[in-house]
Amino acid sequence: MTLRRIERLQLSYISAIDEGPLDNWPHFFTDKCLYTVVSRDNFDRGMELGVMRFESVGMLIDRATATQHAAVFAPRIIRHLLGPAMVDDTGEGYRSRCNVAIYQTSPDGDTMLLMTAIYNDLIVEQDGVLKFKEKRVIYDTHRIPDSIVYPL
């Protein structure tokens, strides 16, 4: 049952990014949270530097607002493909790991692989709702083709 709920959480999460509205994206997280997108190259060197690093829902809201209203970029379609999650109940929450491939389609209709990555998440239950307390996106593709516009 928990596995099903976590699977549904992950699918709803990627849908908020791929299908929108992006305003929903911050609300998949607890008020105090950690969302980071770190290359495997940095991760393997013990470096925490991420292309994005947000520590509160407020910071996530700012990113969603900026992306929609205060950034200049060519339109694009984002598509996440998720693998099955491996879930452990750690006592402080559910540790969930799953592979993800993220594709990007340009206005001219060309689709390319933006990155392959792993989601390493800590999920907690808050008022009967599952939320991400941590979401670490560790991406393999550390030579990024152009830019990362949307959250991952």
Partner: protein, 422 residues
């Protein structure tokens, strides 16, 4: 550098006039011009950034990098000194090291036939040098000394390593000039450095457009809606744009907190929405240099940018990948003695920069718009660079393209593209 070569007519003729207020679109897309740039600029009398000393602390440590399209290795030698060699075996041309970084031990060995070199690039041996039972192997008169790796000249300035294919290039400090050394050592002041992390991205536009963008303060208060909308940058901030005597290097700096009232944009409203940040933690910088400068961008010819925006410090290396593409390598750094709070600030403020940066994702996108826009343009069409006049001088305001004009003065001179100053 090959200074005796006479450029062919097509090269000199693309610049329709003296000066640099018109930059022909061909310089961003022509394969022959690109080949000349590699030869005359990157493999010529220039100093090229290859990394930070703190990336290779131990003897045998190496880091792989590019100068132009040629791969080089920055190596820590046994005596603590530095060497930079081309990452290509003198035997059959194989790439010696494949990892981005690592430790080579006491010698560099080619994985293909195990030809072995000192950390300085001297050839020391190979298997079956004398053959087997006197058969095969190398001739006894084979000159080992003449078959070392291609070595580069190396200099480090306060922990930042530069290399040149030209062993007769002037010393690094002379190449940079006193003004640029002054601003360089404002950040690299001799304190021990530490790498905070890396980012790499491939941007499909000519490498010079990336350099131009960091010499273009005019765009910063217009394109970067995040900075404008959230009230973090204005074109009327106290500022300086400095061009060095060679015109190829520059610094632009702004100080926050001096502007008053509404920005006078000449009656033109910049199309930007009005927002405020929900969480101000992102932009709570701590003063760390002895002045009130909150943004400084130094560009050193040909292709390195040193960024200090609030507490996010980085080198951005521009690596050309053909006329229509380049790789941008970000090395975010701090200092060895950063306290925990400063370490957090550097990680948090990195949100502004890099491939997903609030500020710089606009840049990468706009630069690709430029390359797409100018591609296939007929001969004779050129970029118009007349914001702030026609000269290449330093300024105390940001509404100017003089730094870009300066870059092309130096560029035309090195490329033999007519006389820029005529």
């Amino acid at each position: 550098m090959d200074g005796t070569q006479t450029p062919d007519k097509s090269e000199t003729d693309i610049w329709s006039e003296a000066g640099t207020t018109r930059v022909p679109f061909q310089v961003y897309q022509d394969a022959d011009i690109y080949a000349q740039e590699l030869k005359r600029i990157f493999y010529g009398s220039s100093w090229n950034y290859v990394g930070l000393e703190c990336e290779i602390p131990e003897p045998g440590d190496y880091r792989r990098n590019f100068i132009g399209e040629r791969e080089v290795l920055m190596i820590r030698k046994d005596d603590g000194g530095l060497s930079v060699v081309e990452n290509r075996c003198a035997h059959r041309g194989a790439q010696l090291c494949q990892a981005l970084s690592g430790n080579a031990g006491s010698a560099i060995m080619c994985p293909y036939h195990q030809w072995t070199y000192t950390l300085d690039g001297e050839l020391t041996g190979m298997p079956f040098k004398r053959g087997i039972n006197g058969k095969g192997g190398l001739n006894p008169d084979f000159d080992m000394k003449a078959h070392g790796l291609v070595t580069l000249r190396v200099e480090s300035l306060n922990g930042v390593v530069f290399a040149s294919f030209d062993h007769d290039v002037p010393e690094l400090k002379e190449y940079l000039g006193p003004d640029m050394v002054k601003y360089f050592t404002r950040i690299f002041n001799g304190r021990g450095l530490r790498v905070v992390g890396y980012e790499r991205q491939v941007i499909d536009c000519n490498w010079k457009l990336q350099m131009e963008n960091l010499k273009d303060p005019y765009h910063a208060g217009i394109l970067h809606l995040f900075l404008i909308s959230f009230g973090l940058f204005r074109l009327d901030q106290e500022s300086k744009c400095l061009v060095d005597d060679s015109k190829g290097h520059s610094v632009l700096m702004t100080a926050k907190g001096t502007e008053e009232g509404k920005e006078d944009t000449g009656g033109v409203r910049i199309a930007a929405p009005d927002f405020s940040l929900t969480d101000h933690e992102l932009i709570q910088p701590r003063l760390e240099f002895p002045d009130n400068v909150t943004l400084s961008i130094q560009t050193l010819f040909p292709s390195i940018i040193i960024q200090a925006q609030c507490n996010t410090l980085a080198t951005r290396q521009v690596i050309p990948k053909g006329p229509g593409s380049h790789e941008l390598v970000w090395t975010f750094f701090g200092f060895e003695d950063d306290d925990d709070e400063m370490k957090d600030l550097r990680l948090r403020q990195a949100n502004l920069m890099g491939s997903a940066g609030y500020v710089t994702l606009d840049d990468a996108e706009a630069l690709e718009f430029s390359q797409v826009g100018l591609s296939g343009s007929p001969a004779g069409e050129a970029a118009v660079l007349e914001i702030g006049g026609t000269d290449c001088e330093s300024n105390d305001h940001l509404v100017t393209e003089s730094l870009i004009r300066g870059f092309y003065m130096r560029y035309r001179d090195i490329m033999g593209h007519g006389k820029a100053g005529a």
